[in-house]
Subunit: 227 residues, 2 copies
């Protein structure tokens, strides 16, 4: 697609099916790619919503910064996911922060242009609605999944989440700290560690620092399901 100088942009495939070459050109001419290092802020809670952001590579966390220094992780976004989700069509400022947990690259398009395109091209608007809807759904349903589990079930759940949705392997390097796991599943760091240790003692996983190897997948799945 030489209408766009971005050779690996999946946006086209994903939800621009109904967008003409001219429209893609229009969007792409203004798009900006921004690289981030691990730990960099991508979005700071409270800042103005100017861009529509999409993750090209890496891994980021979406989280809320509470008054009492406690952070709550809402969700992780992986390549091809939207980074701008909550609020972007309904508010002027971000209600959450986004930080890179791995080196990442975002693709940014001005919100005004997305809005304009949605207004003038209904099919595009509808695809956008579908995508946004899917993202919100996933977050809400995942949050209910986490909530109904006890601690060990939650830890098993997030390990399987990384295995299945991020790394596709039984062995992987945890991209997040124990503290961040705790902030995602709503528990304390100490208890996350204790649970991991328990899994190790029960020979369900092996732990080499940040690297986790799942040894007994069935047990882990069973714990995730039934506690």
């Amino acid at each position: 697609m030489d209408v766009c100088n971005c050779n690996i942009c999946e946006l086209k495939d994903m939800f621009f099916e109904n967008v003409s070459k001219d429209e893609i050109k229009y969007l792409c001419s203004s798009k900006v790619e921004i690289p981030y290092k691990k730990g960099d802020f991508i979005i700071e809670q409270g800042s103005a919503i100017d861009d529509f952001m999409y993750l090209k590579s890496g891994l980021v966390k979406l989280y809320i910064h509470n008054d009492d220094e406690r952070e709550q992780i809402i969700s992780f976004a992986k390549p091809k996911d939207f980074v701008s989700i909550l609020s972007i069509f309904s508010g002027n400022n971000y209600t959450y922060s986004v930080k890179a947990v791995q080196d990442s690259v975002t693709c940014n398009i001005k919100m005004s242009e997305i809005r304009h395109l949605a207004e003038t091209n209904g099919k595009f608007g509808l695809s956008l609605l579908q995508r946004m809807s899917k993202v919100s759904d996933k977050i809400i349903l995942e949050s209910l999944e986490v909530r109904k589990r006890k601690l060990n079930g939650r830890v098993a759940y997030i390990l399987l989440f990384f295995k299945e949705h991020i790394f596709n392997s039984n062995e992987f390097e945890l991209p997040v700290s124990r503290k961040e796991i705790a902030e995602y599943i709503g528990m304390t760091t100490e208890n996350v560690i204790r649970t991991l240790t328990e899994f190790r003692k029960d020979k369900i996983i092996k732990i080499y620092g940040k690297v986790i190897e799942i040894c007994n997948l069935e047990r882990l799945e069973s714990i995730s399901k039934h506690g």
Copy 2:
């Protein structure tokens, strides 16, 4: 607006600003109003998504039916809220159930027509996106609010929720059972009751069966904030 035989339909005001009279006529000609009695199913989890539903009056709960007979309440919808939210643009079947907790009336429009209108009228599509986005936001942020609290904070939170968002009064009849409160805030029925009793003993509220009177609003707000 005599283009529509429905004299109190707020849809027009809310997100049909950019819709022509002909288009409103088109939508309204096919719309159906359905009354429900308290306890009636409005949507059953798993059923096909055919209609876009909007609550005209009453109060409903959106919830997930888990395998183990445990229900998790996702959210309550009040008049002018959308009843169809999750999945409706991204899936074919409902991932949740909706039940009337008070006598209610919904206004239903065929999804195919909403889709068609969104496709042909970009401004309408964009308003719809805004509304849907706002709903998802609210659910996600509320769920984080609940999650970060301890039991007494959660009970205080839901009492304030009813006071502020549903009844606008310090005295109201709880529209839900203790069990349903428990299913919403993720605790057991017994502990919800115990907490209410505690609030009563501390003279923060008065309880007459289903009727709650908030006597010490500041205390209740303080508990909701700081536990």
